[in-house]
Amino acid sequence: MSKKILIAEDSSVIQNLSKKILENQNYLILSAKNGKEVIALLNKEPIDLILMDINMPQMDGMTCAREIRKLADPVISKVPIIAITGNARNYSESDFSDAGFNDFLPKPLDFDKLVELVKTYIA
């Protein structure tokens, strides 16, 4: 069965492109526009990986990742999360790991790297 990836990203361009590319890699893609939607979706269905933009309205990626790690369900709260950010320079690696991200990718996105990274988490 195909693994399910949730892409949280407020830019529909990146959202759609990532979706297309990852679908070509035989992943199922769900989309969210902000952190709140992510939490809601997580509680609704099992998700194998989250790609999360840091700058999102309503609930940003950092807060969202922290929230997810705080969730009571041990399976949901351990979902791998990869940060995507156009501001990688403003954060140190530890900022990401402290917030609970497993990894991060800078923008502009290098999709080769994205696919490669996704595969290391969910084959």
Binding site: D10, S11, S12, V13, I14, N16, L17, K20, I21, N24, Q25, D53, N55, I84, G86, N87, A88, R89, S92, E93, S94, K107, P108, L109, D110, F111, D112, V115
Partner: protein, 1211 residues
């Protein structure tokens, strides 16, 4: 009247029959025979008269006279119709009598003497004939009044009997011996619910209850055999299957000794039997209720009983939880669901069950009632309404705690009122069981609670009887006894003398017993005991003995409770000791301790107080505290302050001693609270600080001087560096410019030499500055993420030429354990490495210099990295090693001549490594070479800080189209900078002081202002502030040019509104790099051979990106995505255009940030670059060009819109 007896009547009948016979033969008698006849009739008991043809009576016999009670004269020759009246009043009988020749029956009546009507029936007529002429007739009859009465009475009674039969409540049945039913009465018919016709010819067997057929027929056989007819019971079954219990008797009618039919008369015993059964059921249910501990089992059993008795299929018991607003069904059988009980729970709704629950009384509802309730909306029926419904609330102590329901979907007559009563009874029983269970639970809980109190407290609890035997004890007690005696105590069984263990010392035994005795006398005891344990410890216990009063007031037991108060006792002791200690301290206090009440009256004073003040204790106590101070008002103010803030610290006030001397005191005062938190007093400590004051004044002065001199030194350094840098600026700038002029070979060499010398001078200057910074503790590391290898590569490049010229091998090795990216201060790291490397190369004449980097240790992400630089140089003599890292030291002063240097390099390196949490050292072999090494701490980092955009390398070929205001009071500097700027295409206006600068800035539109800080008349900071105030957002970026190289100075500039700064001396490189950074957008003619800088002529869409995407997704989707981007771009631009006039720059920044990501990802390079620039400017708070730049972005966007489709389809 005499009744004719049977014999007589028989004879008469015969005679008359004879006569009649004769009449048949000769119808008439003759006159001669008449006489004979009359004689024959004369004395018979029948009535006889003869009438003539006119109807006159000619003869009557005695019986007639007797009967009518008339005399002969009254009768004879009277008209017969006058005596014997016609029944209907018409008298046409006579003609009939005379003219017919057939026998007639004539009914007449007469009224007798008593006025009673009597009927006479004449049925024999004899016609008297005389010569063929009928002249009369003889009538013979009898008085039939009584017979008629009898018959009518008989008929009446027959009717009544029939009626009785029909209307009897008893069941009457007639059936043949084979059981075929011949007759049943109405009551029976109704009871059996058969049509009359149906029941006829039915067999008895079919209406008997199958269980009773055999016994009934046995009984009938017995009757046939002649057994006496006892009452017997049997059970019939109605057409609807209902049982009818009957009791009665059956007898057989026999004809010719043979039984033909049975007649049975029964009465209905059903109700009686049901009552009996009900009673039985009541009894059973009570028994069940009494014997049942489990509600579910009880309910199941009750249901079984109900099923047996009244075929209850649907039985539901619901318990109501008010708080949860729910019903819990511990037992629920609904045949439509299944035969087995189901436990379940649901929210209160609008079901029938709830209706019965809340109606608070037993309810019996028929289908139509239920449907009506549903229609009204009182209930909501789900599914089919039952034909009949019985609901009884379960009540406990007047509270409704649940409901019992029974229903039938098939038979509306299944249940009656009495069943409701039965259910009500059952509900009471169930409630009892529930209450019992609850009580039991309560008792169990209470017992558990008491037990837990008994066991869990830290107290020892026990009780004893009058024989001093233990009747109960808790674990703590047992433990204590075991601890003392090594055995556990036992409950006194009353056999033999009780075992007595006491927990006190033996010496207390007697008085303990007395205390028990007092308790047995009804007086509670409270005392403390002490027990010395085996290990020489003392256990103090507080003991309470309380008599246990029985209800009748007797005391058979005493309870004891005790707990360990050893700690309390000890702490009492400690308190006592500490009081002692406090007193000692108090006595030997140097400071003055005092205590006052809330009014300021002194209540306590330490001996030191008397000693120092010269007053005696009596003179102080009771006086107001302000009396002893020089300025009483000040003290009062302090007390007010104290009450407000609860504490006064380091309050300085002068005390006046008895001899009038004034001493300077410092006082602390605080409020004292009692245990309830109420202020009860004030205490204070005063210390004579007269001498201390003097000393601190001196100290303060000394410090002032020291600080002043330190400041002088600092500003000297700052000034010196400024003073030296300013001319150096001129020198280096001019050298740069000179180098660009046409020079001959010699001149070139001279210029190079001057340049090197000035660089050396700058290095020395920098060293001194570094050192002074380090000394002042003002050297701070600036950590960035860096690639260590590229740093070493830089170092290598720096010294490669030097090493190469000396024919020395110069290489570096980086251990693979060294992380690629680390967080460190690149400048300082390079400084140390360069120091060591330059020494190594300097002191090595042949051989090699190797740089090695390795990890010494690592703790999580923090690594200790070692850089070792080995050379094959002259080495260092051991005795000189110690002074190696000292300031201004070189190993050999004589060598100083040979090897140049300030001697500060290693000392600075040592300080820098210290700063980087590392060490520095050397291993050397004199004459053979040395290895200088240092370590530093650095944490691993993900990636080197991207230097691509932020720090462009100056490309001398780039030309700017920009107007720059250059402000500097130093003509040389002004000249140098102007030349450099002009060379890069800038238009330069100069100003030599702040005022001039302001004037220029306000007059002309500049793209950039370069501002010197130290200027006569008005300094650069003031000028900047003025310009900013005047131009506001239109202020161009202002860059400070300064020789103030210290970091805090630089911050000062930025805080004052300057956008950036350049350290002097200004070189073409560092000046133009800054200019480019700030005027990036003003590039006019980009350079051709730029190395690191991004290709300025950017593609609209980066092909590589698209190709890469095409590897991952199909072209159609890609085009679609770019279409999405077009939409996003348009919307973003629209939003920005809307936000800008409102000054919502932060929102614009957010939009641009998102756009940057999308554009970058899709390789829409031109747009991305533009967005990046605007975002960067916004981040740096540069607003003056946002509008223009957004327009420029719009242009880029348009380019993209126009071309992307073509571009993509052609790929």
């Amino acid at each position: 009247m005499e009744k004719p007896n049977n014999k007589e009547l028989e004879q008469l009948r015969k005679k008359i029959a004879e006569l009649e016979n004769n009449l048949l033969h000769s119808e008439f008698i003759h006159r001669s025979a008449e006489e004979k006849l009359q004689n024959a009739l004369k004395n018979i008991s029948l009535l006889a008269i003869t009438i003539d043809k006119e109807g006159f009576i000619t003869f009557c016999n005695n019986a007639f006279l007797k009967t009518t009670n008339l005399t002969k004269t009254q009768v004879l020759n009277h008209k017969w119709s006058e005596i014997l009246l016609s029944k209907d009043g018409e008298d046409d009988d006579l003609l009939q009598i005379l003219n017919t020749n057939k026998p007639l029956k004539i009914n007449r009546k007469f009224i007798n003497k008593e006025g009673q009507e009597r009927n006479v029936n004449f049925n024999i007529l004899i016609r008297n004939k005389d010569e063929d002429k009928i002249y009369g007739s003889t009538l013979i009859g009898e008085d039939i009044t009584e017979r008629q009465e009898m018959i009518s009475a008989l008929r009446e009674s027959n009717d009544q009997l029939q009626d009785l039969f029909e209307n009897a409540n008893d069941y009457i049945i007639v059936f043949k011996t084979d059981g075929e039913i011949v007759f049943v009465n109405k009551a029976w018919n109704e009871a059996l619910q058969y049509d009359h016709s149906n029941l006829h010819h039915q067999n008895l067997r079919n209406i008997l209850h199958p269980d009773h057929v055999q016994s009934t027929f046995e009984h009938l056989n017995n009757i046939l055999k002649g057994k006496p007819d006892d009452k017997f019971e049997t059970v019939f079954r109605t057409s609807t299957g209902k049982s009818i219990y009957v009791i009665g008797s059956v007898n057989a009618r026999r004809e010719r000794g043979k039984p033909i039919v049975f007649r049975g008369i029964f009465h209905d015993n059903t109700e009686h039997r049901q009552a009996e059964q009900a009673q039985n059921l009541y009894y059973k249910i009570s028994t069940l209720a009494i014997n049942s501990n489990n509600l579910e089992t009880l309910l199941a059993n009750i249901h079984q009983e109900l099923r047996n008795m009244i075929a209850v299929n649907n039985f539901q018991v619901g318990l109501y939880d008010k708080e949860e607003n729910s019903l819990y069904f511990p037992y629920y059988v609904d045949e439509s669901v299944g035969p087995d009980p189901v436990k379940h729970k649901r929210k209160i709704g609008k079901w029938l069950t709830e209706f019965s629950l809340f109606s608070d009384k037993p309810t019996l509802l028929y289908e139509e009632d239920i449907l009506l309730l549903d229609k009204e909306g009182t209930i909501e029926i789900k599914g089919v309404a039952p034909k009949i419904w019985l609901g009884v609330p379960l009540k406990l102590e007047n509270r409704t705690i649940g409901v019992i329901c029974v229903k039938s979907h098939s038979d509306r007559n299944k249940y009656q009122k009495q069943h409701l009563e039965l259910l009500d009874f059952i509900s009471g029983q169930i409630a009892l069981v529930i209450e019992r269970k609850r009580n039991e639970e309560k008792i169990v809980e209470q017992t558990a609670r008491l037990n837990s109190i008994f066991e869990s407290s830290s107290h020892l609890i026990w009780s004893i009887n009058r024989q001093r035997g233990l009747t109960s004890f808790n674990k703590n007690y047992a433990r204590a006894i075991f601890h003392k005696y090594g055995t556990y105590p036992e409950i006194d069984k009353g056999i033999g003398p009780p075992q007595i263990h006491i927990l006190t010392n033996e010496s207390f035994k007697e008085s303990l017993d007395e205390k028990y005795q007092l308790a047995f006398n009804g007086i509670p005891q409270h005392f403390e005991t002490i027990e010395s344990t085996k290990d020489q410890k003392e256990i103090w216990r507080e003991v309470y003995l309380n008599p246990i009063f029985l209800p009748d007031g007797r005391i058979e037991e005493v309870s004891g409770i005790s707990h360990d108060i050893t700690e309390k006792k000890q702490s009492e002791l400690v308190i006592h000791e500490s009081e002692e200690k406090f007193r000692n301290i108090f006595e030997s206090f140097q400071d003055i301790y005092y205590r006052t009440n809330l009014h300021g009256i002194i209540t306590m004073i330490s001996p030191s107080g008397c000693e120092q003040s010269g007053y005696s204790e009596e003179e102080i106590i009771g006086k107001h505290i302000s009396k002893f101070y020089e300025f009483p008002k000040k003290v009062s103010a302090m007390i007010r302050e104290l009450l407000k803030t609860h504490k006064v610290k380091n309050f300085e006030a002068n005390l006046v001693l008895r001899d009038g001397t004034v001493i300077q005191c410092i006082s602390n005062m605080r409020l004292i609270y009692n245990t309830r938190g109420k202020v009860i007093a004030v205490d204070g400590v005063a210390r004579d600080i007269t001498y201390l004051k003097k000393a601190s004044e001196e100290l303060f002065n000394a410090k002032e001087i020291a600080e002043k001199s330190l400041k002088v030194k600092e500003s000297f350094l700052a000034n010196m560096s400024h003073e030296i840098r300013t001319p150096m600026n001129g020198i280096i700038g001019m050298i740069d410019l000179l180098n660009d002029t046409p020079l001959n070979q010699h001149q070139k060499i001279y210029v190079q030499t001057v340049k090197r010398s000035s660089e050396t001078l700058m290095n020395i200057l920098n060293d001194i500055l570094d050192l002074s910074k380090i000394e002042a503790g003002k050297m701070h590391l600036k950590l960035t993420s860096l690639d260590l290898e590229s740093v070493i590569e830089k170092l290598h490049a720096l010294f490669y030429q030097q090493a190469f010229s000396k024919q020395i091998d110069f290489t570096y090795i980086i251990d693979p354990t060294v992380p690629k990216y680390i967080l460190a201060d690149e400048t300082r790291l390079l400084q140390v490495m360069a120091n060591l490397t330059s020494n190594a190369i300097k002191f090595t004449e042949q051989g090699h210099v190797i740089i090695k980097a390795s990890v010494v240790s690592s703790k999580k992400k923090t690594k200790l990295i070692k850089i070792a630089i080995s050379d094959t140089g002259i080495g260092i003599p051991k005795d000189k090693l110690s002074m190696l890292f000292e300031y201004f030291s070189q190993v050999d002063t004589t060598i100083t001549k040979t090897y140049s240097g300030t001697g500060l390099g290693l000392a600075i390196s040592k300080e820098l490594t210290k700063l980087m949490n590392g060490q520095i050292g050397v291993e050397t072999n004199f004459g053979k070479g040395s290895t200088f090494w240092f370590t530093f701490e650095a944490s691993e980092s993900k990636q080197a800080t991207d230097a691509n955009v932020q720090k462009p390398v100056w490309d001398e070929n780039i030309q700017f189209d920009a107007k720059v205001l250059l402000v500097d009071d130093n003509q040389v500097n002004l000249f140098v900078a102007e030349r450099i700027l002009k060379k890069s295409g800038c238009t330069v206006i100069t100003a030599t002081n702040g005022e001039e600068a302001i004037k220029q800035a306000l007059e002309k539109n500049f793209d950039l202002i370069l501002m010197d800080i130290q200027m006569p008349k008005m300094d650069g900071i003031t000028a900047t502030k003025t310009i900013k105030e005047a131009l506001k957002k239109k202020t161009p970026p202002i860059i400070a040019m300064t020789a103030y190289a210290m970091k805090e100075d630089q911050e000062k500039f930025l805080n004052s509104g300057m956008n950036d700064y350049i350290s002097k001396p200004i070189s073409a490189d560092n000046l133009m790099m800054k200019v480019q950074e700030w005027l990036g957008a003003k590039i006019n003619k980009p350079g051709k051979k730029s190395k690191v800088l991004q290709t300025p002529d950017l593609e609209i869409i980066n092909k590589d990106v698209v190709y890469n995407l095409l590897k991952l997704a199909d072209k159609e989707s890609i085009i679609q995505i770019y279409g999405d981007f077009e939409t996003e771009l348009k919307e973003s631009l629209k939003d920005c255009a809307a936000f800008y006039p409102k000054g919502q720059l932060e929102d614009i920044q957010k939009i641009l940030h998102t756009l940057k990501g999308s554009a970058g990802t899709l390789g829409v390079s031109k747009v991305e670059n533009k967005v990046r620039e605007i975002e960067h400017n916004l981040k740096q708070n540069i607003y003056f060009e946002v509008e223009t730049e957004l327009k420029a972005l719009g242009v880029c966007a348009e380019e993209f819109y126009k071309s992307y489709k073509d571009f993509l389809t052609k790929l």
